[in-house]
Symmetry: C2
Subunit: 415 residues, 2 copies
C-alpha cells in the first residue's frame, strides 16, 4: 500500500483547512498511514488517490445504507435536479416524503426536513421546550446528539450557559432516569435517548426495556416529550423507529444519515401531541427545502420498504462477528465486539478487559494492507452492498493482522 498522493493532499490541506481536516472524518487520531481523501466510491468500496481499494466499514459514518453511488437513488436525485431543487418554494416531493414517513414510521404524524442531524436534534430540543414552556432537558451522559454549541462533546468555544437546564442521567438505568426527572421537578421539557448506547470507545449496549418503558411513562406522567435520536441508527435496525420493536414510541424522533443514502437530508418526525409546539419554533436553512435530496429520500424509502436490506445486513454482520470470534480464539487477541450486527463496535482489549488503544490503531493500520477500512474506536456500519466474499476477505485480513499484532510496531498517534 502506497500513500504518496494522499500524503501530498494532507500537506496541501494543512495550508488551507485548520489542522488539515476537522470533525468526525479527520483521521488524526488514527494511524499516520490512514487515507484521508478518496477519489471514488462505489457499492461497498472506496478508492484513495494512490489507487488503493478498500472495503469500507464506515459507510461514510452511516449515510451509505444501500451502497455508494447507488444507480436508482442517484438517478432519482439527478432527475429531480433537472426539474427543480433549491428554489423559492419546495416541490411536491416534500409533501410526498412527509406523507410517506407518516405511513412508514408508527409514531410519525408530521415531518420537518433539515440538513444536519444536529439540526434535527436541536429542533427536537426546541420543540420540547416550546411544548409546555418548560426548560429541563434530560440527556444520557456521554451520548452524542450532534456537534453545535449545546451538544458538542468538546468544551472549546462553548460557555457554561450552553448546557443550561441540561440534566444528565445514566443510559439504560431507569433508577438514574427517575432521579433526573425528580431533579427537573415541574420544569421537565423533554428526555433525549439514543436507540442504543453507541458512544466511541465504550462497549455498545442494546436498550434495556425497563429503561425505555420508564422513559415513556415518566414523560407521560410529567407531560414532557420523549425524543429518540435515531440519526445514527435510523432505518438500520428497523424499517420503523428503532424502539418500535420494544414497544416504546417517542413523541419526537430525529433522523439523518441514511435517509437519502448519502444525499444531504435530515428531519425531525413527530406525533400529533408535539405538532403545535413544533409549529411554534422558528428554524430554517437555505437548502432545507431542496427537492433533489427529497426525491432521493423517496427512492431510498422505497428500497427500505421493498428489499431485504436489513435481513441481508444482519446476515453479513453476523458472518463478520462469527468470523472475528474465531480469529480471536485462534490468535489469542481479544477482539471485543458489541452493538447490533449492523453497527458493530470492534475493539482490541487487554487481558484485563481494558481497551488497548494502541493495539486498536495498529489493528486498523494493518488492515489497510488487506484492503479493509476499519475504525479504531468508532462504531462501524455494514452495508448490504458488501458481498459474502468481502466479509470473508475481511476475516482473513483480520486473522493475518491479529496473528502479527503483538509484533506490529505501535503507530505513533496521540490518543
Amino acid at each position: 500500500m502506497v500513500q504518496n498522493e494522499d500524503g501530498r493532499l494532507k500537506a496541501r490541506a494543512l495550508e488551507v483547512i485548520p489542522n488539515g481536516l476537522y470533525g468526525h472524518l479527520s483521521v488524526k487520531m488514527q494511524s499516520p498511514r490512514t487515507p484521508q481523501y478518496y477519489k471514488r466510491a462505489k457499492g461497498a468500496y472506496l478508492w484513495d488517490y494512490d489507487d488503493n481499494q478498500y472495503i469500507d466499514y464506515l459507510c461514510a459514518f452511516g449515510p451509505n445504507l444501500f451502497g455508494y453511488g447507488h444507480d436508482e437513488i442517484d438517478a432519482a436525485y439527478i432527475e429531480q435536479l433537472r426539474e427543480i431543487d433549491t428554489a423559492t418554494g419546495p416541490s411536491v416531493r416534500m409533501v410526498e416524503l412527509a406523507e410517506a414517513y407518516a405511513d412508514q414510521v408508527s409514531h410519525c404524524d408530521w415531518t420537518m426536513f433539515c440538513k444536519n442531524g444536529t439540526d434535527a436534534t436541536t429542533m427536537a430540543l426546541m420543540t420540547a421546550r416550546a411544548y409546555r414552556e418548560k426548560r429541563k432537558i434530560l440527556i444520557a451522559t456521554g451520548a452524542y446528539h450532534g456537534a453545535t454549541k449545546w451538544c458538542t462533546p468538546m468544551p472549546e468555544g462553548t460557555v457554561t450557559e450552553d448546557h443550561a437546564h441540561h440534566i444528565y442521567y445514566e443510559y439504560n438505568n431507569a433508577q438514574s432516569l427517575r432521579r433526573a426527572v425528580e431533579e427537573a421537578g415541574d420544569d421537565l421539557a423533554g428526555v433525549f435517548a439514543t436507540p442504543f448506547k453507541h458512544e466511541v470507545i465504550h462497549p455498545q449496549q442494546l436498550p434495556d426495556e425497563e429503561y425505555a418503558r420508564t422513559a415513556r411513562q415518566l414523560c407521560d406522567e410529567k407531560d414532557a416529550l420523549l425524543i429518540l435520536d435515531d440519526v445514527r441508527a435510523g432505518f438500520r435496525l428497523d424499517r420503523d423507529c428503532s424502539w418500535e420493536k420494544i414497544g416504546v414510541r417517542p413523541d419526537l424522533s430525529s433522523w439523518g444519515k441514511t435517509l437519502a443514502n448519502g444525499h444531504p437530508l435530515s428531519c425531525l418526525m413527530g406525533s400529533d401531541r408535539a405538532r403545535e409546539a413544533a409549529g411554534k419554533i422558528f428554524v430554517t436553512g437555505s437548502f432545507w427545502f431542496g427537492a433533489a435530496a427529497m426525491a432521493a429520500g423517496l427512492k431510498t424509502l422505497e428500497l427500505i420498504r421493498t428489499t431485504d436490506y436489513i435481513e441481508r445486513t444482519i446476515m453479513l454482520g453476523d458472518r463478520l462477528r462469527d468470523g472475528l470470534e474465531q480469529v480471536s480464539k485462534e490468535t489469542g487477541i481479544i477482539i471485543d465486539q458489541t452493538g447490533p450486527s449492523q453497527m458493530p463496535l470492534i475493539m482490541i482489549n487487554d487481558d484485563d478487559g481494558n481497551r488497548n488503544m494502541p493495539a486498536c490503531v495498529a489493528f486498523c493500520d494493518g488492515l489497510l494492507d488487506h484492503g479493509v477500512f476499519f475504525h479504531p474506536f468508532h462504531n462501524m456500519f455494514i452495508t448490504p452492498a458488501m458481498s459474502e466474499d468481502d466479509i470473508d476477505r475481511t476475516i482473513d485480513g483480520c486473522h493475518a493482522v491479529a496473528k502479527k499484532l503483538p509484533s506490529i510496531p505501535m503507530p505513533e498517534v496521540a490518543l
Copy 2:
C-alpha cells in the same frame, strides 16, 4: 392565474408538516393566492403546479446566483456525484475549493465547509470564543445570523441562557458599538456584522465606513475577532468579501447561499489569526464533506471569476429601480426602494413614510397575475439570468398593479 393544484398541495401539506410549512419559505404571511409549491425552475423563472410561470425575484432567497438549473454548474455536480460524494473521507475537491477561496477572498487563509448558513455563523461564534477564551459576542440589534437556539429571531423554544454573553449594539453606529465594547470589558470574544443592514421590513442601509473601520479597530485593540456574516450577500456585492471595497477585512466570514448556486454548501472562512482557534472547536455534520456540492462550488467560483455577472446584475437592478421610480411618480404610490441594486428591498409606504403592510401584500398579490413573484417585506435578489425584457415586463406589471392599488381589496392576512 389559477391556484387549484397549489391549494390542494397546501391542504395535503397541512396534514403532514406543522402549519403546512415552516421557515423562510412559508407564504403564510403573504397573500392567500401566493403559490407555496413549485414544479420547475429554470434560469430566472419558476413554474407552479397550475402551470403559472413567474419571474422569480426571490432567487430561492439568495442561492440562485447564476440562474436555476444552470447547465455547467449542475453538470459539475453530477459528474462529481458519479465518482464520489458523501463518503468516509472528503475528495480532492475540498482541498481545491479551500485553496480557491484562499486565492479569491482577501482575508481568507483557510476554510471550513458546512451545510447551513447557521452552521457557519455558529462556527464563527465558537471560534471567536475559543480564540482567547473570552465570552462576549456583540451583535447588531435585529440582525439575522441564522435560526438556531442562539440566533433565531423568535423566542419560542429558546431559554434566556441561549443569549448569554450577547451584547447588542446599533448597526452603523460607531458610538453604540464603542459602548458595547466597553460593556464587554476584558471579556470581548467577537463582533458580528452583516455587510449591510438587510433586515425584513426595515429600510436597508449600506455600511457606514466609520462604523466598519471602528469595528475593525476595536477588535484589534481588544484582541477580539471581527466576523462578517456574508451568508446572504456574499459574492453578490463583490467577488471578494463584501467589506473589501471599503477596506475593512474581517478575521472570520460566514458564507452560504450563493456558493454552489443552490447546491447545499456553506462555509466559514478565516485569517491566519483565527486558524488555531478554529482548529480547537469540534463541529461536524454528516454531509459537510460531500464532494458534489464542492465541485459545483468550484464551477460557481469559476463563473464568479470569469463573467460579468455582478455588473450585469447591477445593470438589471438599476433598470428595475429606475423603472419603479417612474411608476411611483406616475401613479402616486410611494414605492420605497432600499439596499444595493442586486438585493433590493421594495415596499409600499404611506404618505407619512410608514410601511403600509396591507398594500405591500396587495402589491405582490397583484403582481402574481403579471407573472412576477415579489416578496412583501423581505429583500429580494436579482439574477443575471433575467433578461432586460423580464425587467421591463416587471416594471409594466408594477405600473398596472400600482395604478389599481388603492382599489385592490386588501388581502386578509395576519401580519
